[in-house]
Point group: C2
Chain length 498, copies 2
């Protein structure tokens, strides 16, 4: 191997080790750490983050990348090595534009903001949260100034989560789905789901979630599932996948929450071993990553074939609650559309409307056409317009999400893009696997996860998000029509309850 | 604050963050990690360890220490700042003597050796393990050559675990206790403990262990207890203490295993906040640390006062097994002396004899008077001589411990030193707390842990181990007599069973 490439790989591997370590520290913080450990943990995370940032933005990396230009040009652009050099150069140039001070300040403000938000939400007190929002926006403005943009300064922020996507492109997609979704929600039949609104034993939920996980295509001994307050998935390596879920006092949400995180987990599990310990050991964007969590949660996990296999075991697990509920009623209940205040509890149809609201507000805040102090009012007006709901308080409104408190502005759109992309990919999957429905109905999910791993997950971050989509689907454009068609078909098949 | 001191503190804090992070990675590896995560974890640990080593042995640290000499001389030697400079200089000079290559090679050989040992032990195959032992000894010889010594090359290895202690000093202590312990074991009455050799529900054991832990003086929200194969305790900070224990299919060993680790945990919990994120945030030596695990496990946890409070709750927890066993019979059973093959299962009296065997073998190996290939034979002969037992196989003999496989030679003596030291400190505690017995019998353990924290734990690693002992007991000499007197009194009080 070229000596410069070897050196670059070694440096990137060490930086990756630091990021993986931060990931372990973060998982422990959210899953197992006693609260007293928090101050020390914040220090460790800051130190590791600083060292990783310094190692990555070092002049040495830049000069290695320069020296590697001829090699890169001689290689197949699709090769691992050419991709590594290309992606590293992009990351290096982007990271070098941000002064270390500003980055540290953003991290600090985010950590502080999170604490303030927790209290403000508990007290329904938007004014207490306002200074945090203002401070984070001020820092984001300074961040935006480090870069160039043409359509909107918001594109700079979006790029951290959905690289190479423009604000106007997102707006175009959202403008197309917004009226269609509103109409779907309005016309959606009322479905009885009261049988799910009762207590289900948490231990049995856990056992059931683990039973499903064991069939999704994970290698034995390469994953675990733990309970947490806010479900998430961390990938320490492609053989150490940590999924988390929560067991609510009523309802069976843990099933879909687990399958959602399993979608992220399968992505990380499928990234090629040759890409591990490098910047390529990741999904190309949050939107693509989310497309897979949505695939496993919804396209698989709410489908009739899936439950034609799993509903009997579920009834056997919860005979008191579900013994007298038939499969049709169950499938209808878990696919109903019903406006609600909380994004993370939203159904498939209303979910993207929650995102459209947040995207609009964020864009206006960054473009300067909305003052932070007016966000609550704008939020409540948007909820009325999009979902026909009167927001009762801030905890059910503008303070429900953690993202803005930590500085995560530009993140929300990727959730809805994931919904849309999931159906574009699903169409290709259905063509490629003609027996898919029968396999799912037989509880055989490995053909699906094998195909997705081979054709999508294994590529990691070698290619830009839309180039990855094109390799898979033949189109590099986000197309909302399959998503809307799927929702229409699903909702029209729902039986209206008496 | 002096600018150089501030810079030194900042560097040491960052290095401490790296060590803390490694501690989290190690805890996760042993408690929660799925086995597939191991290769990636080994890489992360190696990278963090290398970065920490490079940062600590940097020339900059040395020149800061030089510049700080005048300040150090102007300070009270007992002050935090003077201690920090003094201890850091000692560590820095010691670490600089070891070539980075040799250290890396020792780490690599240890990781490899551990794998080989696991298999060799499972197969009772000492010859398969022999090359690992030879390799580790060869590396230890090279390590020894980095330093100067006068009494024995073994002192160099001992110094990594029991700093400033000489091999001849350890030998003197062991020569004094060996005949006394042998005699005690020989004369020990046979005590019936068959009622403990039955199954106890693991969940109930866990609940009971947690109940005890909650009374020891830990601040709420600063610790947790998890199950693991080989119990240990990690201290991530003085407010994030991770104890582990194991629940065996029969017996109640988890109680004393938990209290043992709690002793380590209370030490870490008690180290002053002003010493956190520095090389002083540790016990002065493994022997002193072990003296406290032994204190809580044995001097408290096997005492009659302790069980006069806790035995009723224990009987209520396990009525089938203990309902008809009275307190006297229970206390006698948990204090009996009985030769066995396995160190970690040994009682208080025989335990140190296991250590004396290992110390003798290690010393001969390092001094070159015993060949690695002859260790098995020497082990078995020693077991016959010290405990009167014929070793049936290697798993119950020379392959039972993990230490040698990972290169941990020089570690064993600290276990027995801990036993001895625990009684020297206990004598002072009893003088200082005249109501101690009554408090323990009332379930009030906080006065004890408060006193130990204030007088011992809070000092961290500010002073040499024997200087720390002197501050506490007035003597800087290890004195085995209190330990022997304690065992004699305990064993003579045991009722011989029919």
């Amino acid at each position: 191997m070229n000596a410069d490439l070897r050196t670059l790989r070694d440096r990137l591997a060490e930086i990756s080790d630091l990021h993986r370590s931060m990931s372990v520290l973060g998982w422990d913080q959210r899953v197992t750490m006693p609260p007293g450990g928090n101050p020390a943990r914040a220090e460790s995370l800051a130190t590791l983050g600083r060292i990783a940032h310094e190692m990555f933005t070092a002049d040495e990396i830049g000069s290695l990348l320069e020296k590697l230009r001829p090699l890169e040009e001689s290689l197949d652009p699709d090769s691992d090595d050419a991709s590594l050099i290309r992606v590293t150069r992009h990351d290096w140039e982007k990271n070098r534009k941000v002064p270390a001070d500003l980055r540290a300040e953003m991290l600090r403000a985010g950590a502080h903001g999170h604490q303030v938000w927790v209290e403000a939400r508990a007290n329904n007190d938007f004014p207490a949260f306002l200074p945090v929002l203002e401070r984070n926006l001020e820092l984001k403005q300074r961040y935006v100034e480090c870069f160039e943009w043409d359509d909107s300064p918001y594109t700079v922020l979006l790029d951290d989560y959905e690289p190479f996507m423009k604000t106007t492109e997102v707006a175009e997609v959202f403008d197309e789905i917004k009226p269609a979704l509103s109409e779907l929600v309005q016309d959606a039949p009322k479905v009885d789901a009261s049988f799910l609104d009762v207590p289900f034993d948490a231990d049995k939920q856990r056992e059931f979630a683990n039973r499903i996980l064991a069939t999704l295509g994970f290698e034995n001994g390469s994953w675990r599932l733990d309970p947490t307050v806010h479900p998430f998935c961390s990938t320490f390596s492609n053989r150490d996948i940590r999924m988390t879920t929560r067991y609510q006092p009523t309802g069976l949400d843990s099933i879909w929450s687990t399958m959602h995180e399993a979608g992220h987990g399968l992505y990380g599990h499928g990234i090629a071993s040759s890409l591990q310990r490098s910047p390529l050991a990741n999904a190309p964007s949050l939107g693509l990553n989310e497309s897979q969590s949505r695939t496993w949660e919804n396209l698989v996990g709410r489908s009739r074939p899936f439950w034609s296999h799993w509903y009997e075991p579920l009834q056997e697990t919860f005979p008191d609650q579900l013994g007298s509920v038939d499969l049709d009623a169950f499938v209808a209940a878990i696919n109903r559309a019903e406006p609600g205040f909380i994004r993370v509890e939203a159904d498939e149809t209303t979910y993207s409307l929650h995102i459209i609201l947040r995207f609009g507000l964020e864009r206006q805040l960054i473009e300067g056409t909305l003052e932070p102090k007016d966000v609550r009012e704008a939020w409540n007006a948007g909820m009325k317009e999009l979902l026909g709901l009167e927001v009762p308080d801030d905890a059910n409104g503008v303070l429900q999400d953690t993202h803005w408190s930590g500085g995560g502005i530009g993140y929300f759109p990727t959730y809805a893009l994931g919904n849309v992309i999931s159906l574009q990919i699903w169409a290709v999957v259905q063509d490629a696997l003609p027996d898919l429905e029968a396999q799912i109905a037989a509880g055989e999910l490995e053909p699906l996860s094998d195909w997705l791993r081979e054709n999508l997950y294994s590529l990691g971050r070698k290619f830009k998000p839309m180039d990855t989509l094109e390799k898979l689907t033949g189109s590099s454009r986000i197309d909302p029509q399959p998503y809307l068609a799927y929702l229409r078909e699903k909702l029209s098949a729902l039986p209206a309850s008496a």
